[in-house]
């Protein structure tokens, strides 16, 4: 199946390899994400899962292999980065809101400067996406006036305002306490229910189990096991069994 990747996939990685110096971080990674699908990438720290995610939006360049995202040849040196990134939304662990701008300005910036949207229209859009994440009342606040969970929800809203075809989430709840984690997870669940295509790197096994259509378990730079969420309860490889075991112990 990994040999024959259908072109209709929103995201497809084929035999992707990537080294940082002498360290091989991705050692032949292949997977696809179909329209409307939620894919969760799990694995130990250092297993290459964040790197794989970052390759999709070309924050890392691959050494070998093929990546196609929404029709863009991401592995090609000639890829139109700005066109790619209009199709792909990415949310980071550390929120990365722009601290000198209000939440509204954070959200309207890209639609106005990249898509040349009129400011009034962008402001309507800001209100709409903030409503989606339950933060309408924070329109004119600055990021530092928000809790971590609110900042992360605002960051998700900022990405949504660009109307991406696929959203990438890079350990978006890792910096949050359990309560705030839940409020961010609810937002992501609602997006999934609305049919958003998503790829997420997460350490929250319970969340991955409940939301993901498919799980990719990475181990030593390879996709070690992949399948529906049920593989978390009945893993076939000892590595995943051990990982799920330790992950359960931790939570």
């Amino acid at each position: 199946m990994q040999q024959d990747i259908p072109s209709a996939s929103i995201v497809s990685l084929r035999d992707v390899q990537k080294s940082f110096g002498s360290l091989k971080v991705l050692d032949g990674v292949s997977f696809t994400v179909e329209r409307g699908e939620v894919l969760a990438i799990i694995g130990r720290s250092g297993s290459g899962k964040s790197t794989a995610l970052r390759c999709i939006d070309r924050f890392e360049r691959v050494d070998h292999g093929e990546i196609i995202v929404c029709g863009h040849r991401v592995d090609s040196p000639d890829v139109n980065l700005r066109a790619l990134r209009q199709d792909v939304g990415i949310v980071f662990q550390s929120y990365n809101l722009f601290p000198h701008l209000t939440i509204e300005q954070n959200i309207t910036l890209a639609p106005c400067s990249v898509k040349r949207m009129a400011l009034s229209q962008a402001k309507d859009l800001a209100r709409k996406v903030l409503a989606q994440v339950g933060l309408e009342e924070k329109l004119h606040a600055y990021p530092e006036q928000l809790s971590g969970g609110q900042q992360q929800r605002a960051a998700i809203a900022r990405s949504l305002a660009m109307q991406p075809k696929v959203m990438l989430f890079d350990e978006v709840t890792s910096a949050l306490d359990p309560e705030l984690t839940v409020e961010v997870q609810k937002v992501i669940e609602r997006l999934a229910a609305d049919g958003m295509t998503m790829v997420m790197v997460t350490h929250e096994m319970g969340f991955a189990k409940s939301i993901a259509d498919r799980i990719v378990f990475m181990h030593r730079g390879k996709v070690h096991e992949t399948g529906p969420a049920s593989i978390l309860t009945s893993p076939t490889t000892p590595e995943l069994a051990q990982f799920v075991g330790t992950a359960d112990l931790k939570s």
Binding site: A83, Q86, H100, L109
Partner: protein, 227 residues
């Protein structure tokens, strides 16, 4: 041996002092505006992907920071003259001060640029903003806000250093003082007066920068916290 001070004899030349102070302020204003622009461009240039541009900016910054201002002024003054270009002393002074303060501004702005967390740049790239848009919307103002005290000091220092422009007979405050003290033989009084005037000009500039910061940094105005 007592000191006899005769201020009235010098102070009756107050219109000249006033003209000199105004000219000093004008020099400082133009050199600040142009030097801020030049320095910011040089700081951006030092981060350029083109190693030629990056190296050229580094050479500019280091050459200026390691030569005396007075020598730079003479180089501009005599350099322009030797290729047959005649400019007023004021124009030459503004040009030389701009080139000088631009180099220091570049170093300060570089520190400001470096202080922008990489995650914010990635977020901006992830939103498909162009390099120029990222500089303009994401990097510039927060960088300036972080180094604003250093920039303020640098530009006030520039205003004070503009006194060496008296050497190319720009009629600024120190040049005026030189004439007056040679006319009146009241050197001590004259320089006390311009020292006080320089302090006053410094305060005017600092107030100006404070007001500008009020306009430039609405977040700080509202929250009162540093970035």
């Amino acid at each position: 041996m007592g000191i006899e001070l005769d201020f009235p004899a010098v102070l009756e030349r107050w219109p000249s002092f006033l003209d000199g102070a105004i000219l000093t302020l004008e020099l400082a204003f133009f050199a600040t505006v142009l030097g801020a622009a030049l320095g910011t461009l040089a700081a951006v240039g030092r981060r350029s992907h083109s190693s030629l541009i990056a190296r050229a900016c580094k050479v500019y910054v280091e050459a200026i920071r390691n030569t005396p201002l007075l020598v730079q002024i003479f180089l501009v003054y005599f350099g322009l003259a030797s290729i047959g270009l005649k400019f007023s002393a004021f124009t030459v002074a503004v040009a030389a001060l701009t080139i000088n303060v631009g180099a220091y501004t570049a170093e300060i702005m570089r520190a400001g640029f470096d202080a922008i967390p990489g995650g914010q740049l990635e977020a901006a790239e992830g939103l498909a903003l162009s390099r120029l848009q990222i500089y303009w919307h994401i990097i510039l103002l927060p960088a300036v806000e972080r180094v604003y005290p250093a920039l303020t000091s640098q530009f006030v220092l520039l205003m004070l250093a503009s006194s060496v422009c008296s050497q190319i007979s720009a009629e600024e405050l120190t040049a005026v003082a030189n004439y007056i003290q040679s006319d009146t033989y009241r050197a001590f009084e004259t320089y006390i007066i311009i020292a006080v005037l320089y302090i006053f000009l410094s305060l005017v500039m600092r107030a100006g920068f404070w007001g500008l910061g009020f306009v430039l940094f609405p977040r700080r105005r509202r929250l009162g916290t540093p970035l």
